[in-house]
Amino acid sequence: MAPSAIEETVNRREAWKHLPPPTVYPVKEAKFDKYLPPQLDGRERALAQPDGQAAIVIDNGSSTVRAGWSFEDKPRLAIPPIMSKYRDRKAGKTFSFAGQDCYADTTARGHIRNAFEAGSGIVSSWDVVEHVLDHVFIKLGMNGVEGGIDMPIVMTEAVANLPYSRKTMSEMLFECYNAPSIVYGIDSLFSYRHNRGKTGLVVSSSYSATHLIPVYDSKALLSQAIRLNWGGWHAAEYLQKLIRLKYYTGFPGKLNSSQAENMVRDFCYVSVDYDQEVARFMDWTGLEDRERIIQYPYTEEVIVQKTEEELARIAERKKESGRRLQEQAAKMRLERLMKKEQELEYYKDVQRRIVDQNKKETKRLLDEAEVKDEAGLERMIRELEKSIKKARTKDLGGEQEEEQAAPDFSLLDVPDDQLDEAGIKQKRQQRLLKSNHDARARAKAEKEAEKARVAEEARLDEERRVNDLEGWLEEKRQARLAKLAQIKDRDRLKADLGNRKSLASQIRMKNIANLASDGPSGTGSRKRRRGGDDDDFGADDADWGVYRSVAMGANKGDSDDEDGEGGEEDLEAAVRALETDLLEYDQTFEYDQTLDAQKDWSKSLLHAFRYGPRPFDPASPAETHRLHLNVERIRVPEVLFQPTAIAGVDQAGIVEIAGDILTQRLPALGFAAGATDDFLRDVFLTGGNVLFEGFDERLRRGLTALLPAGAPLSLRRADDAVLDAWRGAAGWAGTEEARKARVSREEWLEKGGEYLKEHDLGNAFA
């Protein structure tokens, strides 16, 4: 490694201390705002409008439903298309909410249902739509009107909406709300109209999908429209997935899609040159500026600092209770002692009495005392005496060791034939005692010898170092390398055992099979044939190693844990010891070459990826509750441009789609080259998902690369990419064209549920 690189890593390990404290963003999510009273004035104004001009305009979006009056310049309401309905059993009452109101109550939040099928612009739950519309009409001040909504309705729908969806919506509006007429249109086209577009390519990226629609002379060429199934919803979902994987070991915070949506909105941007930028994104230089940290709520563990006085009091209390316990124990001991003395008294009395009794009387007395025979009685007395003595010495402060120090081995030298039965018994006991005693002494001696050996080794080592430093260092280096190789081998073996087909696993299976079979196997069979049962397994201690190797693989977790982990620790500890030596005496050996430095966080890409350019303290709840967004910031919006490579959506990205429309489809329709240039001159961006910083520039670059040189490409954004769809619909609602396109209730009844009048801004009748 070049010296400069080493220097850089050293700096990195220290550099974070010079960084400013991290900017931490709180996590945001959708919340209940406030109660919105019904607005009755709107309807009054609507009634004052010239005949047929006023209409209720509803932008029926999958992220937000916006509703208002056609003669106003902004919607009165903007609510998410959700509802929540539940029954409070305690109150015996059913509650239902729509829009943000669902977030007002915990129970309600748990019952939220969405009107749209997840990630699409198609309604899948009509009850929710009904609720949302109820809410909309109430808030628009329509409650109180008898017999239905008496205003024409203008509503947006998805591009190429399904006939079934339109039919069901019409049915509901006509049958349930008794609307006089309805007209549907496409939101992005309304937005384009509002921004005075005539001919151009509308790029609309919204919550549920991204559409590209060429518009010629104010008329949408829907047959050439293309949809990419990726929108804000997908982006939020994808980000959520990425975060879960990033912290797959477990993130303590709870991440929901609304939070992810806010993160996408606040922190993501479209990279103008993705490949360039992503390759350098995790570079240490400036990483702190590129990453965004989101702090989840957490509870700090409160460590109460105790004062000196409190500590003293606690110690006093402890001592006090200890004393009390001691007293109690002493009392109990005393009681036991007294009981034993009484017993001893009793047995001694018995012994005295049986001295000159005949056999029968002796037996009676012994039976009374529940003792088997005289010897038993004697033993009992002896034992009692011993224990009383022991207790007494203990009470006095106890030195009972002198008893153990000199065990009596007198009988061992006496031959058996000179002893009676009791003597032999005692001799056996003494022999046992003696072997025990000897073993202990031996162990002690061994330990001391070992200690001496280690000390001697250290001394020799020292000597070698002093006399032959180079050789000594070389030896250490070799030893270190050997240990490192061992560690590597161990890791490889561990990894291999995970794989059923690896050589290591196969050998292990073979070992197990060999051990399990009683039958002859391999070399064993020859022995068996040669004669009898001379299985010499275990003759060599190394034979038992086979069990070790088998168990290692069996469960690396539990039983062999100490073994496995212990060995591991040993290797690493050994390397560390060698490294400390090298660090101390070898000039060429730097800290950065050590195993610890290799594993240091400042070298880890994954550390930077998960925790940014600062060290991470797993004990701090604030730090564990932080999300660090870095590559995700450009990775998530990039899906629009590379859906397959990044998120596995098997569709072309928007640059490719736009290129296809502009260079293939439109010329194929018969547009001359000059005419297709008209589309190029007005590439129009609308929808909430195009608000990313850098979107226009990226699309411009992508298209420039696809188009012939000098093509008159011009991009523009809607003035308000989010609200212009509603505004366009409102502005259009009163026009002659819109009124012609209205489907009245009578027409609907006569011509059927899917009936639709085609107009420039709407879907075709399929």
């Binding site: 009509w126 409650n143 429209a225 997935k241 879960r244 098997d650 072309a652």
Partner: protein, 200 residues
């Protein structure tokens, strides 16, 4: 719960909920006799399935096969490649053995022919005769551009792929991490890229 503050807060919350509730509000604008179809909630798959079934049954009936509706009916026969019209004889007859297949191939050939036949003759604003856009046919086709590879873990450019888990990775360190992933987590990384194995 017994302290007055909590009780007051609870009462205020209850009041707010009552205020927000739209269940108890009488809605005069609604038709009181409105009874929605119990089975109106359908997902896209079901809707598309129903539609194609319906279409298939329409095609199977002969009177609907008149030239007015399907002007290019006999063009099925024009197609020289047998593969594109597997049910050519039956589609002209009234009993179609494979209505879906026939329908698919017919609409496909119709699309192709219309595009080729009409392109030179139609003026630029003549859009009416183009095939209508439906929810399914406006979907973007798969990309033809060469696929770039990105690390499944970090999102950085990925020159390598782990042959065992099929996860793409950026460098040695990421590889080491991939190899220590617990069972099943690797699949989740693949799933984010849509490259996971789906068992059916």
């Amino acid at each position: 719960m017994s302290n007055p503050e909590a009780l007051a807060a609870q009462a205020a919350h209850q009041e707010l909920i009552e205020q927000l509730d739209i269940h108890s509000i009488h809605k005069s604008f609604r038709n009181p006799h409105w009874r929605p179809n119990q089975r109106r909630n359908k997902n896209i798959k079901a809707i598309l399935g129903d539609a194609s079934r319906k279409e298939a049954s329409v095609i199977a009936t002969p009177q609907d096969n008149s030239g007015a509706v399907t002007p290019l009916q006999d063009n099925d026969g024009l197609s020289t490649s047998g593969a594109s019209t597997p049910a050519a004889p039956s589609s002209s007859g009234s009993t179609s053995l494979q209505p879906n297949l026939a329908q698919a191939s017919r609409s496909l050939s119709k699309l192709v022919l219309e595009k080729t036949l009409s392109a030179p003759t139609r003026p630029p604003n003549g859009v009416s005769s183009a095939p209508t856009a439906t929810y399914t046919n406006i979907e973007s086709a798969p990309s033809l551009a060469p696929l770039k590879h990105y690390c499944d873990v970090t999102g950085l450019p990925a020159p390598y792929m782990d042959p065992k888990t099929r996860i793409r990775y950026h460098n040695r360190e990421v590889f080491a991490m991939i190899r220590t992933l617990p069972q099943g987590v690797g699949e989740q990384f693949l799933e984010a890229r849509g490259a996971h194995t789906v068992l059916k």
